[in-house]
Amino acid sequence: MVMKRALAILTLLIIGYWMASALANVPFGADKMLVAQYYLNHVKAQTGAVNAVTAVVVNYRGFDTLGEVTVLFIASTGVAALLWRKKRERTAETEGSIVLTTGARLLFAFIVLFGAYIFIHGHLTPGGGFPGGATIATAFLMLYLAFSAYEIPHRSFEVTEGLAGMGYVAVGLIGLAIGSYFLFDWIWQTWGWGHSNIGRLFSAGFIPVIYTIIGIKVGTELSGIVDSMVKEGGE
């Protein structure tokens, strides 16, 4: 055992040295931007978003984000498929304390609202669809922890998830139909909505639309994962 640990540490140190020596040639803190500088220069004009990261995520690298959403979708589908049992129910015995239950009831709406805020304002402030959706999922997670019999409406969540996903692709396909490019920002570039109010909520083309979709999707997906993990299969 000691031998194995020592071997592991030795191996890892060598690998680490190798990585470090490579990284030493990628100086920390230096300006290495090439494509990114183009983004920073053109982000406002081309997408209307103030938050460059959001613009990159949704507009410039929209394909990645589509893939990312798909990955999460696969995970939730996979978890549901693998934990599928004929009959499943929750097995928690103890109800949360009074403080927890009341608190959860009270906070639930606020957390959901906060999550919604995060993803709607993704193009202006840090955040976006993914943290927003995760925040919403946290709200449901809290309900699961507080109440021993709580269950999300399983079926409708799944449908919502699917609809949201379809909505994302549909937005992209509308772009294909209108602007002849898949995931084309037709709201900003073709229709030109919101050019006058960059930096405010109603701007940035389809970023808020997509982030809303993503937020809903991520929220339902993560809640779905939690739901699948919590419920145990009975015979």
Binding site: K4, R5, A8, I9, T11, L12, L13, I15, G16, M19, A20, S21, L23, A24, V26, F28, G29, A30, D31, K32, M33, V35, A36, Q37, Y39, L40, N41, V43, K44, V50, N51, A52, V53, A55, V56, V57, R61, D64, T65, G67, E68, V71, L72, I74, A75, S76, G78, V79, L82, L83, L124, T125, P126, G128, F130, G199, V218, I225, S228, M229
Partner: protein, 115 residues
């Protein structure tokens, strides 16, 4: 060899994660290792995108295009984080299934498929 503290931290996280995979016998521990490793990679990406003295790439009041850090690694890491959590969730599900079948998480004993 001069590497920043962030690079050092990122590499350390990766190595610690890999160490857990190489040494620990418990499946959940291995997954913890995998998760830590992914965090390390994310940190590495973000550190590569950092430019000294610049601020976050939110081009609102008074921050021009030449005053923001690189937004691309941040976008990449967003994706990577989500992918990481997806992998983790799936892996844990598999671990649950394994435990329900074999009543153990010791990878030394999870060797029905071999040869």
């Amino acid at each position: 060899m001069n590497i920043g503290v962030y690079y050092f931290g990122a590499i350390s996280l990766m190595l610690i994660g890999l160490y857990a995979i190489l040494v620990k016998k418990n499946l959940l521990k291995i997954l913890v290792g995998l998760s830590i490793m992914e965090t390390g990679v994310n940190l590495l990406l973000i550190s590569i995108g950092y430019i000294a003295g610049r601020s976050a790439p939110i081009l609102s009041e008074g921050i021009g295009p030449n005053q923001a850090v690189d937004p691309i690694p941040q976008a990449l890491v967003l994706t990577a984080i989500v992918i990481g959590v997806a992998t983790t969730a799936l892996a844990l599900t598999v671990a649950i299934n394994l435990y329900e079948t074999y009543k153990t998480l010791n990878i030394e004993e999870l060797r029905r498929l071999r040869g």
